[in-house]
Point group: C2
Chain length 211, copies 2
């Protein structure tokens, strides 16, 4: 019983009676401090103090300082998997992968200030950039698996998911520097990729006709 | 003078008078041990012993155990940058990025047994997989910079380089499981990507015509 209630507290998302939205307050305080003074320079004590909470409460919600920046990855991946599952029968693998990244984009777009602040913090720190890269690869791998579950064969499934990653990375950088909608920018960037590789395709077709 | 001769020894690639190809012998011994008993389970002492050399010699050539697996990255990147610089004026950004990864592929193809053994070692270890991912991103970033140097604007440069990464990753996995030529498989995979995204493009054109 003890273990069970501890688990409930740890996963209550800060909605408990004594700490209304403790998790959200901690995350906001952490992000502001990371942005203002750097990730490495910020201590958990400072984060807790800024949020008006204790270090113990911080560690009830997050394993460490870094976790604050990456704890949304699971939710994003789940949204992507739903998008893959919900894509129409007629969609091509690349269109399905694109829909998955568009779903992630739509979620990010709901709190653009947070996403931009988070991006600034991560961009400023080599270790965090590496972690972000690994999380993105992990998402691509989940999309690949979901495509395979839909019956997409290899290497088509991996190629579609990796094309999605390529497009998402470029689209995200464009979005950070713009005032546009991330989902729309992802779609547009996928179109740019299609235009770019089309030349390769036409070249190859021309070569095939000759040979 | 002292510093200079120390540098010469450290960078002599094992071609010194006292240790003919020490570097190559150490790298071979390390790879064989990593493959046979696992990366984490292998000590520098074992590597040195298998190569008939001392630990001190190992550390003259490699900073640590991991370095043995990744010390070829600089040379690969340099080959890729030469390929970008040498691509004809008429080549599209994606074709140039593809040429860069094909050049890396040609180098890897020169020692396929080593590449396949190295891949098996890296695939079996989460930390090494992350390191490989980061090295690949670093190569993509070098290709992006080289494309920009050729006057390719953003986001075209990044998109071309990232498409190259997507293709290379898929091509490499296909190559490991095949007896084919890596350069040829990279070219073929780029064609597959072109075919896959072509649908997206034709859809969009159809939509543009309607609206």
């Amino acid at each position: 019983m003890r273990l069970m209630s501890a688990t409930v507290i740890a996963y209550d998302g800060g909605m408990g009676r004594w700490e209304p939205d403790a998790r959200g307050r901690l995350a906001k305080a952490a992000l502001e401090l990371y942005a203002a003074q750097g990730f490495d320079q910020t201590t958990v004590a400072e984060i807790a103090s800024r949020a008006g909470l204790t270090e113990r409460t911080f560690f009830r919600h997050f394993a460490d300082k870094r976790e604050v920046l990456f704890d949304g990855s699971d939710a994003l991946r789940d949204l992507m998997l739903v998008a893959v599952a919900d894509a129409p029968e007629s969609a091509t693998p690349v269109q399905i992968a694109s829909a998955a990244f568009e779903a992630a984009g739509a979620a990010i777009q709901q709190n653009p200030e947070r996403a931009r602040l988070r991006n600034a913090v991560i961009s400023a720190n080599a270790e965090l950039r590496e972690r972000e890269l690994i999380k993105l690869a992990w998402m691509a791998s989940a999309v690949t698996d979901a495509l395979r579950d839909r019956g997409v064969p290899e290497p088509t499934a991996t190629l579609a998911a990796e094309a999605g990653v390529a497009v998402f990375k470029v689209a995200f950088v464009r979005w950070v520097a713009s005032t546009g909608d991330l989902t729309e920018i992802i779609r547009e960037t996928m179109g740019m990729l299609a235009d770019q590789v089309a030349y390769t395709r036409e070249d190859r077709k021309a070569r095939d006709r000759v040979s």
